[in-house]
Amino acid sequence: MSYRFDWGPIWEARALILDGLVTTVLLSTSALVLASIIGLVVGTAASSRRLGLRIGAGAIVELTRNVPLLIHMYIWYIGLAFLRLPPFWCGVLGLAIYSGAYVAEIVRGGIASVPVGQGKAALATGLTPVQALFFVVYPQALRIVAPSLANVFSQLIKDSSLASVIAVMELTYEASAIEGQSFRTFEIYITICALYLLLVTMVTLALRFLPGEQENISGLGLAGA
């Protein structure tokens, strides 16, 4: 191997990398929140007893997730250019809508896994349908779907790198820029891989400590100890 490692230029570019990292975090977080809202609404509609709502929600999911993410971003950035949205928000919208479809599928599956009697019981105690969803159905569903949700969210963080294509100055964008100046190709990509891994690990760990996990611990016989 003739390649000589030189991490100096990477260290010198640390301010740029940090900027990129902050943008990636902001981009991912905004998209994550928006995707969760979209997913919750569409997923709940997909679980509705009304056929029209179910079909509509299903169509939205299929229509959205079968179009490449890059196209989603181009739609906001190029297709709807007259809206003059800043690249950052084009990235957020593309990412949120695309990932929202996946969240919706998970929400639908989660609701389906909660026994129907639970919702009925909540209504019987005088809760409104919305209260029943938020106090009884969603919390139970969340425990079941947490691992799949963690998957989609870590996918979202990695997918956010595509925003570099529409000129959002996030991590991958800055990496390309640094690579273009310093030619420290391998070092810079390894560095940002490590940063993505860090972000993904944080999300996965965060979702592991959701309420409900204590029961597993007591199941291991630790509660009485």
Partner: protein, 214 residues
């Protein structure tokens, strides 16, 4: 169909052909790679299994675009070889999807109850034969849905290849758009085409799964 698309149809179709070709080649390559890696990790082959786990975890933590950059810029720089955008794309996609398929294969293998392999061994088959004739075929049948999920992802991924300059479908459409400036029409056409192709592919997966279910 709108005029801008009709007039540029041959050019767009060449792009689409490139997309399908990349998707097909990398689907086959990624499946073979995933199968080999998944089986090696499942069998806990000494040393090999540990390094393959690192490969899987590395790829699963890396964005696809970064993977492409690594294959286009970093690997050639590190190992001193020349590559084209097409070659880098194919290598990147195979390495990328192979890691995900390896995980699917591994969990598929783990879902086959050990009694079946024992029965195969009890009739005098070797370990290798038991894997090849019983355990692997059963595991593959079980993971057909997740395999096709990966193929659909792959088909969508191909659009990213345009970023490093591969003349596939999305890239061709953007080129046409740069000339005729009809972004809404072009993007709608592109989105619709991917939609139809992905839905078709999922349908093939569902039919195959129903056909192979045991």
């Amino acid at each position: 169909m709108p005029d801008v698309i009709l007039q540029n149809l041959p050019f767009l179709m060449r792009g689409l052909a490139a997309t399908l070709q990349i998707a097909a080649v990398t689907a086959v390559g990624g499946t073979l790679l995933g199968l080999a890696v998944g089986v090696a990790v499942y069998l806990r082959l000494p040393l090999l299994a540990a390094s393959l786990r690192i490969y899987i975890e590395f790829v699963r933590g890396t964005p696809l675009l970064v993977m492409l950059f690594i294959c286009y810029f970093a690997f050639p720089a590190l190992l001193g070889y020349r590559t084209t955008a097409e070659q880098a794309t194919i290598l990147g996609f195979i390495l990328f999807i192979g890691a995900y398929i390896a995980e699917d294969v591994r969990s598929g293998l783990r879902s086959i109850k050990p009694g079946l392999a024992q029965a195969a061994l009890a009739t005098g088959l070797t370990c290798f034969q038991a894997m090849r004739l019983i355990v692997i075929p059963l595991a593959l049948r079980r993971i057909v849905p997740s395999l096709f999920n990966q193929y659909v992802r792959l088909l969508k991924f191909t659009s990213v290849a345009s970023v490093i300059g591969v003349q596939e479908f999305t890239g061709s459409a953007m080129l046409v758009n740069a000339r005729v400036f009809a972004p809404v029409t072009m993007l709608a056409f592109v989105a619709l085409t991917y939609l139809v192709l992905c839905l078709l592919l999922s349908m093939v997966g569902r039919v195959l799964h129903a056909h192979l279910a045991v």
